[in-house]
Each structure stands twice: as structure tokens, then as C-alpha cells.
Symmetry: C2
Subunit: 506 residues, 2 copies
């Protein structure tokens, strides 16, 4: 966003900014009159990509045009996303111009046809993405080709490095910075806040940045947000860590690997999670966050994100190669991903499971606790906090003696205050139509039900599952309860659930 682009038409081509409070989510949109003289002289027509500049700030936006006197001839309406990013005031003059030709797109095109991307290539592409010069279809093109033609280790290292360089990078005043991550795909597998509480209770520093959901009904940041504020800036995060040793913040708020967030937004609309992108996404965030020791949870199951042991081994190898290149100590744990973890699926419902484990409530989800202990134990060993073989016992003790819960409360309060997760306005119980033993649970379809119910945008939405693999159920027994905020979403989730065999009995 600096001086890379020459200053063109420094005089003229100015339009008066109008705020129209148009929410386009994160798409940059600007609107002029069709007969606006500046646009006519520049040859801009509807759907053109244009560069808008306000002082030092620049964006690339999609131009729409209006045949109406709602706007003056010398005015330009900005979507809220554009308004914020340009930091304009009502009536400021902004400058409109042709964007520079997007040369790095030629590199993406070349990769479609089989070329590999070198270090310089990857840095050019990622810098253009970071500067907002890629439209969504270009991001889709990049993501698709990186998924279809799997990057080699070298390309993946370049991609990771470029993504790190495009954002902030944190430095901590400690030699060991602990981190954990789960590649996802397993509904309800919300171990991160538990691990943070346990290892911070053991004295480690774990400044955790988490993402919001990509294709799942909840990301860790979505879940944590129902318990405490997660939009911490860097200074806030640092002060939480210095005080408590741990935090669970939303990664986007500190601009670690911001390109990752842009790619994730489009990947979500595409509903894909590609391995190469996943490796670069995870590791760029970790390296940028200043992590030195990372435990990675890779759940494997027929309907999890990773479906086979061999796929998991291959992913682990890719992660290890790239982590080595950045001096990051990594331990990958391949875990059972055959069924959901805990009871809740959706931000608030998962948060309730966390509270039950931390507070040692008698009906806490034992599977969630077990998984969290295993991961925390591995991290305590990897960082030499516990002796080999002694990690799990050390982690478990923090739950038993209440020190993990005390630490978690302290972290939430340091982040802005512990709060109670919301409850949804509407519920619907899904009953078994027959009797038998539960032989399979389709994680993907279950996640789909939770998403149709409104998760993660509606924090209280999702579902609670009441059975496990191997359980015997009777006809008419409740299998799971759908939670939604609106009648439309509840119906929609229910219709999908009813027409799809998600839980199979035998």
C-alpha cells in the first residue's frame, strides 16, 4: 500500500465521498452516476474495478452506476467497508483511477497451466492480495489452482513466508512460546481454551490467536467470543499475556497473516479446505504469532476433514517440512475423528461444554476433557515443562485442583470480562424413528444442520447431541436438539436433518 504505484492524474479525477451506510460485508463497492463526467472521461462502466485513493490510503473497489439524482454528478457513494478502509469523512474528496494492471495474475494463470511459483512470484501474488488488488474471482482462482495442483514443499514454504511478511509479526520476551492448533473438521472439538488454561496454569506462555469458522459451524474465536471479548489488539493481547500467561484472541484483530483471512473468507464461500492452503494458513499464523513450540491435533475419521491415516501422515509430513524451515518445533497428534466431541456444536453450545469441563461439573463431556488433557500433556512435554510421559498427569492435575478454571476466569477477565454464553430462542428435538445401536454419525451433515440453524453467525445456534457411537437408542428417543434464533433457520435446519440420514442405527 506504499509507493509501489506511481501517482497518476494527480489533479482532477476527484469525487466527493458520500456515506450511504451500505453494508456489503467485506466487498469494496463504490457507486457513481452513470453520467458522472470523471467516469465518462476515464471510460469506467458498471462492474469495472477502480482504484480509490484518500491521501495515503488506497483501495481497489467494484464500481456500480446509478441512473438517478440520489447522487450528484461529482459524488461517489462508498460501501461501509470502503468507507472504513479509506478512513474518509463525509464530503472529503477522493481520487478515482484505473487500477494498475494486475501483473501477478499472470503468475496464477501460469500455475493453472502447470508452472510452479518461485519465491519472488509468490511474494508478488501475496503482496497484491494484501493490497486488496485481487477481486473475489481472482482469489477463487488462486485457491482453486493451489488445491488442484498441490504445492510442493518449496512452494509451500514460499507461500507461508509471503503470508507472514504481509502482516504483523509478534515478538515475545520469552524463549518458549507454546501453541496448539487443530486442523478441524470435527464438530465440537473445542479443546483450545482448555489447553490454554492448563498450560498457562503450569507457567507457560501461550498467546493463542484463533480463527473464526471457515466451513464449520464454529471456530475457536467464535466460541471464545461467547465467553469473553476476543477482538484484542496487539497491546491488549500483550498485556493479557504478561498478566496471565495465556489468552484466546481472534487472529484477525492483530493482523497476523491478514492474507490468510482474505483467503479464508473466499474459501468459506467456496466451501473448500485445501491441504496446501491449510499448511500455509496454520503455520503462517503461528510463526507470525511468535510461537516456538506447536502441538497440532489432526482428527481422522470417515467424515472428518482428514479421512484416512495415510492422508493424515502426509499432511503431518508437509507440516513438519514447512515448520522446520521456520525453526518451529512441531508435534503432530493424529487423533480419533469418528464422532463429534462433547455435546454442543455451535459457538455458545460448545462454550457450555468448556465451562462444564473447567468447573469439573459431574456431567462434563468426558471425551472433550480427555482430548484436551492429551494435547496439553504433549505441549508440556514438547516444551520440556514436563518429563517425557509425565505431561498428561501434570495437565490433569490443573483440572482436578481447580487451577485451570481459576486461570481461565483470570484470562477471560483480562480479555475484558467473563460472560455467560447466550441461549437460542427456539429449539427442536430430533427423535429416533426406530430402535437400535448407533453405528455411524455423519459429522459433515451434522455440521451442515448446525450451519443451517444459523451457526456461527448466530452464536446461540447449533445443536446438542445426546448420543455417542455404540449407544443403544429407543424409537422416539431424542438424538439431538437443534437450537436457532429464527423460525426460518430452525425450519431450514430441520428440513435438511429430516431428509438426510445423519445418525445410522443397526
Amino acid at each position: 500500500m506504499s509507493n509501489e504505484e506511481p501517482q497518476r492524474e494527480a489533479n482532477g479525477n476527484n469525487l466527493r465521498a458520500r456515506r450511504v451506510a451500505l453494508d456489503t460485508h467485506d466487498q469494496m463497492v463504490v457507486i457513481t452516476r452513470r453520467d458522472c463526467p470523471v467516469c465518462r472521461s476515464e471510460g469506467f462502466s458498471a462492474h469495472a474495478r477502480v482504484r480509490i485513493q484518500n491521501g495515503e490510503r488506497r483501495i481497489i473497489a467494484t464500481l456500480y452506476q446509478i441512473d438517478s439524482d440520489l447522487l450528484g454528478l461529482e459524488e461517489i457513494a462508498l460501501s461501509e467497508s470502503a468507507w472504513q478502509r479509506l478512513n474518509v469523512e463525509e464530503g472529503d474528496l477522493v481520487h478515482i483511477a484505473h487500477p494498475q494492471p494486475l501483473d501477478s495474475l499472470g503468475l496464477v494463470r501460469g500455475r493453472i497451466y502447470g508452472n510452479r511459483l518461485g519465491r519472488e512470484d509468490m511474494h508478488r501474488i501475496i503482496a497484491d492480495i494484501a493490497a486488496g488488488r485481487y477481486a473475489d474471482i481472482h482469489l477463487s482462482m488462486f485457491l482453486t489452482v493451489m488445491a488442484a495442483r498441490v504445492p510442493d514443499d518449496e512452494e509451500l514454504i514460499h507461500l507461508t513466508e509471503a503470508m507472514i511478511n504481509a502482516g504483523d509479526r509478534l515478538r515475545w520476551d520469552r524463549e518458549v512460546i507454546a501453541d496448539k492448533h487443530c486442523v478441524g473438521g470435527l464438530p465440537g472439538n473445542r479443546t483450545t481454551p482448555l489447553v490454554v488454561a492448563m498450560v498457562a496454569a503450569c507457567g507457560l506462555w501461550m498467546p493463542k490467536t484463533s480463527s473464526r469458522a471457515i466451513t464449520s459451524p464454529a471456530g475457536t474465536a467464535d466460541t471464545m467470543e461467547t465467553l469473553a471479548p476476543v477482538d484484542l489488539d496487539l497491546d491488549q493481547m500483550r498485556s493479557v499475556i504478561e498478566k496471565e500467561g495465556g489468552c484466546v484472541a481472534w487472529g484477525g484483530a492483530v493482523r497476523l497473516s491478514p492474507v490468510d483471512d482474505m483467503l479464508i473468507r473466499v474459501a468459506r464461500l467456496m466451501d473448500i479446505d485445501a491441504e496446501g492452503q491449510m499448511v500455509a494458513s496454520v503455520l503462517s499464523k503461528k510463526v507470525a504469532a511468535g510461537s516456538t513450540h506447536l502441538v497440532l491435533d489432526v482428527p481422522v475419521g470417515p467424515t472428518a476433514k482428514v479421512r484416512s491415516q495415510s492422508e493424515a501422515q502426509e499432511l503431518a509430513q508437509r507440516l513438519q517440512s514447512v515448520a522446520d524451515a521456520f525453526g518451529l518445533k512441531l508435534r503432530v497428534l493424529i487423533t480419533d475423528g469418528s464422532e463429534p466431541v462433547g455435546r454442543g456444536i455451535g459457538p455458545a453450545l460448545e462454550a457450555r461444554d468448556l465451562l462444564a469441563v473447567l468447573r469439573n461439573e459431574p456431567d462434563h463431556p468426558a471425551d472433550l476433557r480427555r482430548r484436551a488433557v492429551k494435547l496439553a500433556g504433549a505441549l508440556l512435554e514438547l516444551t520440556d515443562t514436563a518429563a517425557a510421559g509425565g505431561g498428561e498427569a501434570m495437565a490433569e492435575a490443573t483440572l482436578d485442583d481447580g487451577s485451570a478454571w481459576a486461570k481461565f476466569e483470570a484470562i477471560c477477565n483480562a480479555q475484558g470480562g467473563l460472560r455467560e454464553p447466550p441461549r437460542a430462542a427456539r429449539r427442536h428435538e430430533m427423535l429416533s424413528t426406530s430402535a437400535g445401536e448407533v453405528v455411524s454419525i455423519d459429522n459433515r451433515r451434522l455440521a451442515r444442520v448446525a450451519k443451517l440453524a444459523g451457526a456461527p453467525a448466530a452464536a446461540a445456534a447449533g445443536l446438542e447431541i445426546h448420543i455417542k457411537l455404540g449407544d443403544h437408542v429407543d424409537a422416539g428417543q431424542v438424538l439431538y436438539t437443534i437450537h436457532a434464533e429464527t423460525a426460518g433457520e430452525l425450519n431450514y435446519a430441520r428440513e435438511f436433518a429430516e431428509s438426510n440420514g445423519i445418525i445410522k442405527l443397526a
Copy 2:
């Protein structure tokens, strides 16, 4: 667009349509208040994809939201594209709902990871695209993966068939329907109107549908439009053909393979032309148009779309396999694509070259004439109108005796009236900075200059080239003249031209 989707929420969820004259080109956009009760109850937020229905007509649109009383709580503003497609009147009630889950996207995702698409798969994808259910990022995903993982013959036949089925199909009352096509990439290679005039003058029926530019500065339809109306509907096209035997209409106006037009729009923004897509694009239009005999011009050159003989041979083989599957007689001519054809690049400038050839003007571009005669000759032979080896002479005679020009005038008049191509308001001459022999011309960069100058949107824009490969030029001699309608575009094209070595001397 028929009954495939169940009727949901038949009551309620209605909003009053407001026309706001918002030109979003072909993107479907709707806008509601953020606090619109229907959207709140359905859980719609900004950037959601929504289904809008007016009677039998349905679209999928992107929702934006506004915090302003410009709209009422029960109102919905529609972009012009949405307004037209839904055929609403001001104040009509339209119905808003969640789109059905886009299941066929799972097939596209599967193909990213290596699955092939069967007949049924391809038909489901293309039907969803035809129904407007794919957002641009999904079209980008489809195009990218089809480019990166080249379709096999079987897939290509399925794709072509699905694209044919998704649109209108023409039947003609003649056994032989002639057609020609050029895969493009060679600026100024505007032979089609000449071939139509010549073969129609010989008594063949040639109902030509042409496309607008994809990534080039002009498509045949763009060029022809500067000479006569090309937006003919099916009845109009039929009446021109019955009267004159030939026409040059814009394919989109008759909805032949409309999915192709949607894919072309996105491919243009991506700036890609993938071989497989090209085969399906060309042949779906030809089969749908009822063509029985097709001559295909494949120019080969270092900066043409097809760069080597082997690539051209491979493309020819793909085209032949798919054409065979549909009983279409095909002859592929691999031609010289080392330099631009004729003098003009851009719609109106190319149209002037056509007129010069048809009118036998003394300074007509001889290379353009030669190429057109070769193609018309091949078509006369392929259809057994001329004996083997006698096609070119028969074609040439129609130019010499004025019958091709008389036929062309008659066709233009039947299409709505022959007209004079426009002239651009501004010009700039690009001079040679040294003396020497022209050893190479970069077609791609030359095309880029014409596009930056405003072609094809500005019909008069583009450039006229004054030299050929092998010519000797002096320092200060004019190499080409840029034509533009606006000062901004002229400068922009000039700056690009000045900073890139497009014509090399030795």
C-alpha cells in the same frame, strides 16, 4: 428455472420491489434495510446469497444491507440486472428465501481433488449455472479446475452436451448448414463476415452466431455491430437467413448455450482461455446453432493464443473427437499467427478493413483477404459446393465480381441496416525510436494496448498498425496509431505502449 425447487414459505417473506436504476452489469444485487423484519427472521446478513422469486421467475442474488430510511422496512431494491430478469413492476411483491443448498458445488470440489465428472454430474453443474445459482467465485472455481485438470474427451463431450441442453437449439430447413470459427488470439483476424458473404454468395446457408470479445480487443459480434445491428432474436435471424442465406448475429441474443456466455464473462475477468472450455464453448454453440459443416481457423504463433504446432494439433484432435460425437463435420485449418491480420485492431477499425476487402479498394489489407478466401474455400469444399481443390477460386471470384459485397450489403440491410463504423475522438501516433527491420510483433501486448485504449467497450477505440514483419522502418516512422474516445484511456494505452517493447527491430 422450472419446478426443480420446492415452493417454500409460500406465504410471508414478501417484500415490495423498488427500482433504483443501479447498474451492476450482470451481477444480481438486491438491497434491504438491515432491520428489515423478513431478513431478520430468515437470518440474512450482508453478502448472503438469497433467492428472489416473482411468480414463475427466480434469481439468486447477493444481498447488501443499508442503514438508512432510503428504503422502507418492507422494501427491497433491485439492481437493473435483477429487475429485468425477474420482470417486475414498481411495487410488485417479490418473495425472498434461502437458496437451496448448492449440492452440485460438491462435484466441482470433488474435481479439484481429482474426481472426474460423469454425464449426470456435468448436467447437474451446468443446470445450476444456467439457473443462476453459481456466484462468480463458484464459476471461477469451475473454470480454474477445468483449466488446471484438463478434461478428458468423455468429460468434454458431457460438458458440451450439457451446455447445448441448457439453451435454445436451432433447426433449419436445409441439410447443409455451413459455419466457421476462429479460436482467436490473433488481433484483427476478422474473416467471418467475409466468409459469410462469400459462401452465401455461392448459395450456402450460413447462419453465423458470433461472440463478443473474451480477452481480445474485439469479437466478431463487436466488429459486426459497428456495421449493422447484431442483437437479432431467433425469428429475426431466421428471416435474414431465409432471405439472404447468411447473417452475422450475436450468439447471446438467441440464447444458444447461455451458460457459455456466463462462463465467458467470468473468464474475461480472470483473463484466461482454457483449451477444454474453448472446445466446449465453440462446439456447443455450433451444435446448438444447427450447424452441420464447420471450418475452424487455429492461428499459431509465439504470441497467439495457440503457440506451437503441437499444441494446435492437440487442440484439433480434441475438437475433432467432440465434433464427431455430435455428428458435426469439421475441418481444422492451422494458420500462421505470427503477426496481426489487416490493419485495424478494435471493432470499428477492423470493420473498416472488412469494407476495404469487400469493396475491392486498392489499398485493402491483402493478408486479410487471403485468409478469408482460404477459409471460405475450405468450407465450399467441405460442403461439396466446390470440387476438391476448387474452393479458393470459387470464393475469390465472389470478391472479384462484387457478388460478395452485394451479398454483404443485403445481409446488413436484412439485419436492420448497413451503417458506417464510428471514428474515435482522439488519436496518438506511436513512432519508432530507431531504424531497422521489423523482426517481431507482440500480439498480446498489442491487444493490451487496444484494450487499454477502450476496445471493445468503446467501439471506435483500438489501433491501426502500419507495418508488417520484415518491413524496414526509419527512426521517427509511425508504427501504429492508437485511437481512443477519452483522454484517460488514450494516456493509459500510450503509457503502457511506451513502457513495453511491442515491436522489435533488428
